[in-house]
């Protein structure tokens, strides 16, 4: 029993000694550091990325194709990282058609009034629910109350392409533009 107490006491002494050594080492570092000087400016940032393009892949003449905003593999995904809780104004500029590079043919692309979701809670396109932000939103009128989430804010986008029965073969492209601005500065 006595030896157990002695063992505990010796452990406590070792821990105390170690703590004192660490503190003194840190203090000496602090003293060394105090002889120099350094300045750093912390800046706020905003990072907006297109994590994934809205992907229809290959389509067929006369067969429309829809991609929802809830498909992990092919929904469009934008991600915004910045000061958590800051209000952000989001605007999407969406195309009415996709075109061949030489402009010789166009294919209609449409976006419904429920083709977007805004997620401030770290979900995914397939798991986002109303409690994570806003679902079934009009991508042309994104929520005015959107904020940067604690981790980030994501926007999920779906859409539909409608090739005609005589749609020219080829590679069609268009731009989707997301404008992001803080509304609190």
């Amino acid at each position: 029993m006595k030896s157990l107490r002695a063992l505990r006491l010796s452990r406590k002494i070792m821990m105390l000694t170690g703590t004192i050594l660490i503190l003194s080492f840190g203090f000496s570092l602090a003293q060394d550091a105090a002889t120099g000087s350094a300045t750093a400016t912390v800046q706020t940032i905003i990072t907006v990325t297109a994590t994934q393009a809205l992907a229809f892949g290959n389509v067929f003449q006369g067969v429309s194709k829809t991609v929802g905003d809830n498909v992990d593999a092919s929904s469009g995904i934008f991600t915004i990282t910045g000061q958590a809780g800051a209000g952000v104004n989001l605007q999407m500029i969406l195309p009415d058609y996709m075109a061949l590079a030489d402009g010789s043919d166009r294919m209609t692309i449409t976006f419904s009034t429920t083709d977007a979701a805004v997620d401030t809670n770290g979900a995914t396109p397939s798991t986002v629910v109303a409690g994570d932000g806003w679902v079934d939103q009009n991508p042309r009128v994104l929520p005015a109350a959107a904020v940067v989430g604690a981790a980030n804010t994501a926007i999920y986008l779906g859409g539909k392409v409608t090739p005609t029965s005589d749609q020219a073969a080829g590679a069609y492209s268009a731009d989707i533009v997301l404008l992001v601005a803080y509304d609190g500065t």
Binding site: T41, Q43, T44, I45, I46, T47, V48, T49, A50, T51, Q52, A53, L54, A55, F56, G57, N58, V59, F60, D72, G76, I77, F78, T79, G82, Q83, G85, A86, G87, N89, Q91, P95, M98, A101, M107, G122, A123, T124, T127, A144, A145, V147, P163, A169, G170, A171, Y172, S173, A174, D175, I176, V177, L178, L179, V180, A181, Y182, D183, G184, T185
Partner: protein, 289 residues
């Protein structure tokens, strides 16, 4: 509930969270196609400091083509208190616009993956400007620099590609002379809608600089118990109607409820203290309609 069931639920939640995190990482790592980091989020220039800089960084794994241009756009609101920022690219004629005075160097750059670029800003305002603050938006447009045209699989195929383009708009403020920050709360109201307290505030900027501050709001019950709260960064350039939705916890609370609103220019952590213009504080208590 038995402890085992609770543990199962906790374990299930942990696995779900891990799965979500892994999926998000995979999504993020697999296919980041466009984007840029911009710092800081607001740039201040003055008559004594007519140059500034912003830093751009490419956080993606593909090169980014970045263009910088200037625009004009203030936070404005509709009758429902929704706030938006409408950019005007052409000459606005607004007496507070600084967009024609400022230039960026460089204006176009291709950022390699992980690359940085400093963009320098120089402003040449006209002489004899009245004291106050003048505004422009710095718009950073980025997209994948690898080309935008997809290839069809064969002669008969139809392939598609949507190019994701990002425009990040940050504010530039040019200040000259004596600066005054002052806000007036012209009207305020609050009402209960289910478990949400909607607060509507009409504000007018009475100073010659934009009022930057924080809008704090608390919902209290009859016994002064706090049942809801909110905090947002606020910027008022001219007039602004702002709606705040405050979720509340009604259980175990006693009506009538009231909302305490406090607007202060203190406490902003996203703006360097030397750039903050100290303004007035507004405190108002609103009874729910």
């Amino acid at each position: 509930m038995p402890e085992l069931s609770i543990n199962k639920i906790k374990m299930g939640g942990a696995i779900r969270n891990w799965y979500m995190a892994a999926l998000f990482v995979l999504l993020f790592a697999a296919n980041i196609s466009a984007g840029v980091l911009v710092a800081p989020t607001v740039v201040f220039l003055s008559e004594t400091n007519r140059t500034g800089r912003i830093t751009l960084q490419n956080p993606t794994d593909v090169p980014q083509e970045v263009n910088i241009f200037f625009s004009f756009g203030l936070p404005v609101s509709d009758s429902l208190g929704n706030v938006s920022v409408i950019l005007q690219d052409s000459v606005t004629g607004d007496p507070k616009s600084a967009m024609d005075w400022v230039k960026a160097f460089p204006r176009t750059v291709v950022l390699p993956p992980g690359g940085n670029q400093t963009v320098r800003l120089v402003i040449k305002p006209p002489d004899d400007l009245p004291d106050g603050e003048y505004w422009a938006r710095i718009v950073v447009r980025s997209q994948d620099a690898r080309g935008t045209v997809p290839r069809a699989d064969d002669n008969t195929g139809i392939s598609t590609q949507l190019n994701m383009v990002i425009q990040t708009a940050i504010m530039l403020k040019y200040r000259t002379g004596e600066l005054i920050s002052n806000l007036e709360l012209t009207s305020a109201g609050a009402r209960l809608d289910g478990n949400i307290v909607q607060v509507m505030l009409d504000m007018v900027c009475r100073g010659n600089v934009s009022y930057m501050g924080i809008l704090h709001s608390r919902v209290l019950d009859k016994n002064n118990n706090e049942i809801g709260r909110g905090k947002i960064n606020l910027a008022v350039y001219r007039n602004l109607r702002r709606r705040i939705d405050l979720p509340i916890t009604i259980e175990n609370s006693n009506p009538p409820y009231r909302v305490e609103v406090r607007i202060t220019s203190e406490g902003r952590t996203d703006v360097p203290p030397p750039d903050m213009i100290s303004g007035n504080e507004i405190v108002r208590t609103l009874n729910l309609e």
